[in-house]
């Protein structure tokens, strides 16, 4: 029978990989919806009412599926990782409880008003509801990422014994919860969510443009999402570069796995593109053996913050067992590659927009359609780097994942639920896709444009991020 440790880890992987799609959709849509609602109320223009009503439907289904898959994760800490929960509950449970009270409650109650209440409540309360729903989704991320980042860079605790069991005891809450990783994760994740949704919106709009069914509604969607893409795509790369440096400082083992660096070395180049030369390179990439196009010294510069001769510790010189290097190495490369593609795509669109030919470039439209869900895929890859890369630790340097699994869990039980999730979540993804496609096909307004469609490019000050107050640059 399967090892309950392996089954529990696989199950957690499956359930988080599926779940994260829906918060990305709701967190990314939130600033757009606040902007649409604000414009609808301020300008009374029909197109903003249509935009708000249409994208709220996508938000609502994402929120429901996000709720039912999110509760699963909260329960899984207890069901599958009871030893971890007992040992780390003092630090880890608090943020989850606060997330429920502060964030999830705000989001779930005002969503009722936001989805069902347009005709029932005043404009002012409706506007407030959109802000509270958006705030709720983002605050949720704050508390979940506080909990996660503490596991990556644990601070503010000491080891203690309770009821005869070793536990991690909280001594300094500020150090624990404002830990070094949190701000990096939060900015990277939120920008990724907005970027992913902008790509999705642009992709859907581009489909209608490409098939010559573009109305004012789709043109507006395309322009707004492209404006957001032009800010978020380059920002993600600039921020990601600095984030990488922070990972090298705080989790050298993860960084070495990202670079497949086995031997400690100085003046290491950054492997911009890596090509496997044999099958074993795919399953067991090693920096020394790959055919790579690399930027000389850049990995050293990255890791040290400017010193081209800096030493990078290799996996062979780290005493604990390695994380699954191949998964981390290739996921990282795919993530960065896709991130570069998004920048290129946004510039391409930007140039066409300036030329006044945004809706005439079929190839651009096709590229956008093809990229519509790649943002979400990239978020998944990034989380795989983060979570697989921190193995074998569940709490970095403190507790191994294998020690965190429920002691009384049997392989049969764990396998039964794992298989159950694979089946149920596959169906869930099919249903979610079906519903989203149905909404796009059937619920989009088809009215011919009422006003002249040629809006001049909006300055950055009117893009949704600035309305929401998202940091747009460092």
């Amino acid at each position: 029978m399967i090892d309950p440790v392996i089954a529990s880890r696989l199950q957690f992987a499956v359930t988080t990989i599926v779940h994260i799609i829906f918060p990305v959709m709701s967190m990314g849509l939130a600033p757009f919806l606040i902007y649409f609602t604000w414009k609808e109320i301020r300008t009374d223009e029909q197109v903003y009412e249509q935009l708000r009503a249409f994208w709220t439907q996508i938000f609502a289904i994402s929120f429901v599926v996000g709720t039912v898959t999110g509760i699963v994760l909260e329960f899984e800490f207890g069901t599958n990782f009871a030893a971890f929960s007992t040992a780390a509950g003092e630090l880890f449970g608090g943020p989850l409880a606060v997330e429920g009270m502060m964030a999830f409650m705000l989001e779930a109650t005002f969503l009722g008003i936001f989805v069902f209440g347009r005709e029932r409540v005043t404009d002012r309360l409706y506007m407030l509801s959109s802000i509270f729903v958006g705030l709720g989704t983002w605050l949720s991320a704050v508390w979940i990422l506080i909990a996660n980042s503490w596991m990556q860079t644990p601070r503010g605790f000491e080891m203690a014994t309770k009821n005869g069991q070793p536990i991690v005891s909280l001594v300094d809450p500020i150090a624990a919860y404002a830990n070094p990783r949190f701000p990096w994760m939060f900015v990277h994740m939120q920008n990724a969510a907005v970027l992913s949704v902008a790509l999705f919106m642009a992709g859907v709009a581009a489909y209608f443009v490409w098939t010559d069914r573009d109305t004012q509604f789709w043109r507006k969607t395309m322009k707004i999402s492209l404006a957001v893409l032009l800010v978020t795509a380059p920002f993600q790369a600039i921020h990601g570069d600095a984030y990488g440096r922070h990972v090298a400082d705080t989790q050298p083992q993860k960084f070495a796995a990202m670079e497949a660096q086995y031997d400690t070395d100085s003046s290491v180049g950054l492997k911009l593109l890596a090509f496997p030369t044999s099958v074993s390179d795919i399953t067991d990439p090693r920096a020394e053996e790959l055919f790579v196009i690399e930027l000389p010294f850049l990995a050293s510069i990255l890791a040290s913050g400017g010193n081209p001769g800096a030493t990078i510790t290799g996996l062979n010189d780290i005493p604990t067992e390695d994380p699954p290097v191949a998964i981390v190495f290739w996921s990282f490369r795919a993530m960065v590659g896709l991130g570069m593609w998004f920048i290129l795509l946004s510039f391409w669109g930007g140039v066409r927009w300036l030329q006044g030919k945004l809706f005439e470039d079929d190839l651009l439209a096709k590229a956008l359609v093809g990229s519509s869900v790649l943002g979400i895929l990239t978020v998944e890859l990034g989380w795989i780097v983060t979570e697989v890369g921190r193995q074998p630790w569940v709490i970095d340097g403190v507790m191994k994942t294998s020690a965190g699994v429920s002691p009384n869990l049997t392989g049969t039980e764990a396998l039964a639920t794992l298989v159950g999730f694979v089946v149920v979540y596959s169906l869930l993804l099919v249903l979610y896709t079906y519903v989203v496609l149905r909404i796009i096909r059937e619920e989009a307004p088809t009215d011919p444009p009422k006003q002249a469609p040629a809006d001049p490019p909006k300055p950055a000050a009117e893009t949704p991020e600035s309305a929401e107050g998202v940091p747009s640059d460092d």
Binding site: I71, A83, A97, V98, G100, A108, L111, S169, V435
Partner: protein, 334 residues
């Protein structure tokens, strides 16, 4: 380096309060809030099986549409609070009842998804199947939750015992009572008239099932003292509230009737809490005072809950008052 605020918060419980007992009560109060609020969503879901007309089905879905999501979050808060202040109990209970917990999750998933799916297409077969899924999820979710609470109370280690199955059925009966009473408030005409006797039947069933569960469970669990004053007082109160619900709903005093059901939901969790206390996990023989987290995180959770729960109450007041009164004819779930 430890900052001075953290140090003073680690000295002792805030204001010298018996925070362990207060949190034990609060965790059950949150569970009771979930049971009452999501209870009527579950009940409406169960009663959905009794309505065939398309317009009536839409009315039922519209009656819970804006609310069920917020109501369900009380379960998330219950889990989070248990994790934050009694982490070892959270871990022991959830891992001990592994398959049961996933049964609860599966039921909640079906219940949450079904109304969304139901509205996606208007062909008969699609709506028949998603309507059935909605009913199944709405009945099995409270059933498995009740079994879980029964297992917790009676210290059952296997999937379920006769007593915990009876608790599960009792909770289903209570949610149907809750749903029928709620529909009295939120609908007019045939739905209100025809679901009322179903609610009254469920109300009677609830009383019988609670007594039966206690009688069966009390025999095998030595820590459960049935003939104590608080137990008998809570049972007497439950009978009174059940009578009040029946009388009030017959006189169309729907808010009063719903209040009587709320009282029974809180009465049930109070009964479970008093029967357990001072134990919190009978299987491990663990007491509340030993299971509580250290003083510093306990004080922090106390501060967080004191600030946030009043705010949360405000959100619910705003939500429910925005959609007060019976569902209008043109309103639907979509």
């Amino acid at each position: 380096m430890t900052d001075p605020v953290a140090l003073s918060l680690a000295d002792g419980p805030l204001f010298g309060l018996p925070l362990d007992t207060l949190w034990f009560a609060l965790v059950f109060a949150v569970l009771g809030t979930f049971l009452f609020l999501d209870g009527f969503d579950f009940g409406v879901g169960a009663l959905f099986a009794t309505r065939d007309a398309e317009a009536e089905r839409e009315t039922l879905l519209a009656a819970i549409g804006p609310f069920w999501d917020g109501n369900e979050v009380w379960l998330v808060v219950f889990g989070g609070m248990l994790f934050a202040v009694f982490p070892s109990v959270y871990a022991a209970l959830f891992s001990r009842h592994y398959l049961l917990l996933f049964a609860i999750l599966a039921a909640l998933l079906i219940r949450g998804l079904a109304p969304e799916m139901y509205e996606q297409r208007h062909d008969d077969q699609w709506q028949t199947w998603w309507g059935r899924a909605f009913v199944v999820g709405s009945v099995t979710a409270p059933f498995f939750l009740g079994v879980f609470v029964g297992n917790w109370l009676f210290g059952v280690e296997e999937f379920a015992s006769a007593a915990s199955l009876l608790v599960g059925l009792a909770v289903v009966a209570l949610t149907i009572t809750d749903g029928a009473t709620y529909l009295g408030l939120k609908t007019r005409g045939d739905i209100r008239i025809e679901t009322r006797p179903m609610g009254h039947l469920a109300q009677a069933g609830y009383l019988l099932l609670v007594v039966a569960a206690l009688a069966v469970g009390g025999q095998s669990a030595s820590h459960v003292s049935l003939l104590s004053l608080p137990t008998l007082a809570l049972l007497a109160l439950t009978v009174l509230l059940a009578a009040a619900n029946v009388v009030a709903s017959r006189r169309d005093r729907h808010v009063l009737a719903l209040g009587a059901v709320a009282g029974q939901a809180y009465g049930l969790v109070a009964l479970v809490a008093t029967l357990l206390f001072p134990l919190i996990d009978p299987v491990a023989g663990l007491e509340v005072a030993d299971a509580i987290v250290s003083t510093l995180p306990l004080n922090l959770s106390t501060i967080a809950a004191s600030l946030l729960l009043p705010l949360v109450a405000t959100y619910f007041v705003v939500l429910y008052s925005s959609f007060s009164g019976p569902v209008e004819d043109e309103e639907s779930y979509a």
